[in-house]
Symmetry: C2
Subunit: 334 residues, 2 copies
């Protein structure tokens, strides 16, 4: 790939930080880098490849001369500014949920549907973190045995809600340990030493009782896998983990898959690492996935309650494969 | 009930503590109370109804004159000492897994199968904590619509592993916050800010890849509900919560149940509190269940992936309804 002029919108956020780190570590051919953020971050400087770059305020005219823009600044910002970027000839890889279900916008996990990138009209959407790690593992199993139904329960890390959420977890944890009342500003309830079955932390629920995170897992899975016949139900839960989403996933397949055969398939799957050695107490963990770009799967078991079902435990770094890393992978496909 | 001579074996443990508290708060007719524990606890004194009672060392002759013994001292201790207690005419309510699947021993959750108590031959088993709270909610739904299959993923509190496990969570949490390496002595991996898909913490796994906790949830559910045709699969996970197990439960029923109908049934169910008002961000939480003896259920949703399935979020205090409270309820049935 020839060197590109790249912009990162939302550069000062947690995912923005990991976007810069991933561009560095993947040695992405950056000709020049533009860092964009809201008015609040004006004057900040971030380091990229040893060089200090000033953060500019994101405006409608920020994208002149930019070839690739990586957006990670929330749905509202994406809705407002991605059309300006596209108008100026830039290809946008958007990490928000703004465009994901737009039929004109490809929703891409490179290990699953890289070819969809070619159909873009200026915007490519990066899926929801909890969906990405699940489909990376499910795709090779679907190819082998056709997945008919998925029942997933998530154990999602606090960093998915941003830097301030991480600080709230830390502050609340200290408060509880010191016998003080924890203060809730970001989360609707105490997250320290608790599990909250609501994601995101505000305006979460639709009329049918599902949260928007749960609906994302259902709809995005079908779109990325390119198969509307895969039925998915989800319960998404925030847990007091800093980074690394864990998922308990039950899949029903058309053809019977043994646990051994599933392990064999997954050992050959791109970006997947099978950690499934119970004698060594080896299985995926959020703490060991943190900082890694792969998706980890273990606890692979045949489900005694169904003749063609498996249980899986899937873990990945929600800021990397779940966000920054997947976005940079998409950029590499261009 | 006439006043009884009661013994508590394992009195100095976390569940032992809650057994004493529950006997007090339920105003159980205790004529005299004997506190039993291992050699390590010799010399300790515990308070019951304002009176200090010395802890005696548990021996084969501890049960002469005792009418009801509440055991919470681990499977090995139960296997060894419950026969002595029964020989001496005592009725044992055993909180360990030692006798639960013995066909001669009733496994009782009073809201579900109180009548089974009558069939005892000296031992009544108290089910596993994660099973109790689930069946309390499932039984009325089963009566209404026949449950055919259950897929459950748990979010289990650290107090289920005892006092030292709670201390390990606290120590590890402080270590992580202070940038030190957390020390693992009880758990096989760091539990602070992590999710461990292994319960119990040692000798967990069977040949088919299921943990003993998962197998308990499968088999005990069928035994308590008195219906071997209910198919159950489980993934049990330890989370960094101090007290209160949460469960994401998907049930498939023979007859269709709407979410509204399920809420209506559960509002009338004994010991169940429906917390399901999403506009108020009201749903069960471990932190609000702590110290309560009821079981809480919310996030009740029809499952779009199956024509006759529901998702539920079930939370209860694992030391109370999951252990001490259920045991005292059984004693009250005698």
């Amino acid at each position: 790939m020839s060197s590109k002029t790249v912009a990162v919108a939302g550069a000062t956020g947690l995912v923005g930080h990991h976007l810069l780190k991933t561009l560095e570590s993947r040695n992405f051919p950056v000709k020049s880098l533009k860092l964009l953020a809201s008015e609040r971050s004006k004057g900040k400087r971030l380091t990229f490849r040893g060089e200090e770059i000033p953060v500019e305020v994101l405006t409608e005219n920020s994208f002149k001369g930019v070839e690739i823009a990586l957006f990670s600044a929330g749905g509202g910002t994406s809705k407002k500014f991605t059309p300006c970027a596209v108008r100026d000839g830039c290809v946008v890889i958007d990490n928000s949920s703004a465009w994901r279900m737009d039929p004109e916008v490809p929703l891409v996990v490179p290990e699953v549907n890289a070819a969809a990138v070619r159909t873009h009209h200026g915007i490519i959407a990066n899926p929801n973190c909890s969906t990405i790690q699940m489909v990376v593992v499910l795709k090779p199993l679907h190819d082998a045995a056709r997945i008919e139904r998925v029942v997933v329960s998530t154990y999602q890390a606090v960093s998915g809600a941003g830097i301030n959420a991480l600080k709230e977890l830390e502050d609340q944890t200290r408060a509880v340990l010191e016998g003080r009342d924890p203060v809730c500003q970001i989360f609707p309830h105490q997250i320290a030493f608790n599990c909250i079955p609501q994601i995101p932390q505000s305006d979460a629920f639709e009329d049918d009782g599902y949260s928007t995170e749960e609906i994302k897992m259902i709809k995005e899975t079908q779109k990325i896998m390119g198969d509307q016949s895969i039925r998915v139900t989800a319960t998404t839960v925030r847990v007091p983990v800093r980074t690394g989403h864990s998922e308990s996933v039950n899949i029903e397949t058309r053809d019977k898959l043994t646990a051994d055969r599933a392990r064999e398939i997954l050992r050959k799957a791109p970006s997947v690492i099978v950690q499934d050695d119970l004698a060594k107490q080896l299985y995926p963990l959020a703490t060991s996935a943190e900082g890694r770009w792969e998706t980890f799967v273990g606890r692979i078991r045949e489900d005694g309650s169904h003749s063609r079902a498996l249980n899986l435990w899937i873990v990945s770094d929600n800021l990397l494969k779940g966000a920054a890393y997947n976005a940079v992978q998409i950029a590499e496909l261009l």
